[in-house]
């Protein structure tokens, strides 16, 4: 799929921008901090209704300079699929009308860049929930911060898996939302039990819903990591001149049952996860009551990158043993595998969004990424230096110059 139009109103540093896009490679060239990244952020937001960087949605609204009575931001796109079908997506961000805030001085309150934001999403003109937007536009985003996926905290890796899986499988997005709501209810109840007598019936009703939703999340993550591994088995050696082997190791907080995954069918496997989950929750009960929070479940999963150590051929954890350069290659393998995974799962090329990542890579890795870019139906790339790209790629690309919220071809 590819975008044919992108329009921004009061989004980040753009007062108003209307851009016609074409399939193939678009290079956005400009200095740092001049608004190239905002364009990619807008596209990512249209795909996921989530901010590309874990931060407040309110920061996406262009505050201060706006003359509107109520500040807002709007992003719109038209996209086209391989089969010719067209879709229009629009998201309007408004500061939420805060209940119980003092009526006096509310105009000031609405202008403060914190607090909640209301999203109004429309697909082909019809209002949609954020969950129903997922899967309309699929994107793979390459950021310099991808290094955090390798070396950062487990929450980075969970967020990454969740956004990828939600784009592929709408049911995953719905189930994860439900899981998080159950988790919030259950944690509230555990906190209440510090003040009053524990009612096992009350806990049991949330346990059951936690296990129901959580089991699907774990099963889907398990499956997806296996598929990543099949893809990465090809991709990573190619990126490292056949010198390195990479494997993703999914580390669920609910340990799998001790049977070879191939030995049992899918149904039995899911039943096995639910059984283990129930067992772990039971075993963890006294500690959970003490800690007043839920200690077992997919919100505590991790995903690790295992690489083969040259010295002895042992598989070791990249978080401790990989160099920064190796980390960059691991992140790149992961993203390239994501492109292939999305293509296979949805039957449609995702849109590639690259935010100034070329400069971080050495020549062989650059060439591999450039190849992926040229193979994609559409790639939109920001850069501060056109010299990072081969003449071949620049020849085939549309080059735009971005400067202070203005774009020139």
């Amino acid at each position: 799929m590819w975008l044919t139009r992108l329009a921004l109103t009061h989004f980040r540093n753009y007062a108003r921008l209307e851009l016609d896009l074409t399939p193939g490679v678009t290079l956005l060239h400009g200095n740092n901090a001049c608004g190239k990244t905002s364009l990619l952020e807008a596209i990512f937001y249209l795909a996921t209704s989530r901010s590309a960087h874990a931060g407040s949605d309110r920061e996406l609204i262009r505050w201060g300079a706006t003359v509107e009575p109520i500040p807002f931001a709007r992003v719109e796109t038209d996209l086209e699929r391989g089969n010719g079908a067209r879709t229009q997506i629009e998201i309007v961000l408004l500061p939420a009308e805060e209940k119980n805030s003092a009526p006096a001085g509310e105009a000031d309150a609405a202008r403060k860049p914190n607090g909640r934001v209301t999203k109004r999403i429309k697909v082909n003109g019809a209002p949609k929930r954020a969950l129903d937007l997922l899967g309309e536009l699929t994107v793979v985003l390459f950021l310099p911060e991808d290094l955090d996926l390798v070396f950062g905290s487990p929450s980075h890796r969970r967020r990454y898996l969740d956004i990828t899986l939600s784009q592929i499988d709408p049911r995953y997005g719905r189930t994860l939302l439900r899981y998080n709501q159950v988790l919030e209810q259950r944690n509230s109840l555990l906190r209440e039990f510090r003040e009053r007598a524990v009612d096992p019936h009350e806990l049991a009703i949330w346990d059951r819903q936690l296990i129901e939703a959580g089991t699907y999340v774990i099963a889907r993550r398990t499956e997806t990591v296996e598929r990543y591994n099949n893809l990465i088995a090809d991709i990573h050696p190619r990126l490292t001149d056949q010198r390195e082997i990479l494997r993703l190791a999914y580390q669920p907080s609910v340990p799998p049952e001790n049977v070879a995954p191939t030995a049992v069918g899918k149904e039995l496997r899911i039943a096995g996860i639910a059984r283990r989950f129930a067992h772990e929750i039971e075993a963890m009960r006294p500690r959970e009551l003490g800690a007043a929070t839920t200690l077992v479940g997919p919100h505590r999963d991790d995903l690790r990158f295992m690489i083969e150590r040259a010295a002895d051929g042992q598989m070791v954890d990249a978080i401790t043993y990989a160099s920064r350069g190796q980390g960059r290659t691991i992140a790149l393998s992961l993203k390239l595998a994501e492109v292939a995974l999305m293509r296979a799962e949805t039957g449609e090329d995702p849109v590639l969004l690259l935010d100034d990542v070329m400069s971080e890579l050495d020549a062989p890795r650059r060439a591999a990424l450039a190849q992926a870019v040229m193979d994609a139906a559409q790639a939109i790339i920001t850069t501060t230096d056109l010299a990072d790209f081969s003449p071949d790629l620049i020849e085939r690309a549309r080059v735009w110059h971005v400067c202070d919220g203005e774009i020139l071809e």
Binding site: E192, A204, I205
Partner: protein, 200 residues
């Protein structure tokens, strides 16, 4: 200096205390009433007084009514072996509109939600258990809480309490939109859900 008359700010504040009404809406409603004919404002005030002075809670089903017991609980034509448990009085209205259900009701006045600080003791669950003990003829209980997280949790909780009593328990079939409210389900959907209720 704020020169807004006290009566105006007071009404804005009162509207603002209502659920779902933000400061902007509260102002809009107040200024609308300020410009509306006097008769309209008086009719609203009268309706508010009537609401609190002439509405009672039915001691049997806990529904709001003009008399205690309510018209449904007093109606001899209703099937007294059947109780449908709902969250809100509006859910009774929604089910009555289908004309497919002829049993009695029990209104919980909410659903379990620890996040909002609502536990089982905040709902009319004790009243339901008392009713089940006093009226031995009850053969079936239909759990018709909303098909969302809190409604589901409330149904599971009731299931655990009522099952040991040996009364047949059914749950509205999942024809209802997931995450939806009973109140917003159309009649066809509700009728289908009532017909297809499953034993739990």
């Amino acid at each position: 200096m704020d020169t807004t008359p006290r009566a105006v700010t007071r009404l804005i504040e009162e509207f603002h205390r209502l659920p779902g009404v933000g400061p902007k809406t509260a102002q809009r409603l107040t200024f609308y009433l300020l410009r509306a004919p006097k008769t309209q404002a008086h009719a609203l005030a009268e309706a508010l007084v009537q609401l609190k002075d002439h509405i009672v809670t039915c001691a049997l089903c806990q529904n709001i009514a003009e008399e205690n017991p309510c018209a449904i609980c007093r109606d001899d034509a209703r099937d007294r072996t059947l109780i449908c448990v709902v969250e809100e009085p509006l859910d009774v209205l929604a089910i009555e509109r289908t004309r497919e259900y002829h049993g009695l009701y029990h209104v919980l006045h909410g659903a379990i939600s620890p996040v909002e600080g609502i536990g089982p003791e905040d709902l009319r669950i004790g009243e339901l258990l008392t009713r089940l003990r006093r009226e031995p003829g009850i053969a079936e209980i239909v759990l018709a809480t909303n098909p969302n997280l809190e409604g589901e949790a409330t149904a599971l909780y009731l299931e655990r309490l009522i099952k040991p009593l040996g009364i047949k328990l059914t749950r509205l079939a999942r024809g209802l939109p997931v995450g939806g409210d009973l109140e917003y389900a159309d009649e066809v959907t509700l009728t289908r859900a009532l017909e297809g209720r499953r034993e739990v």
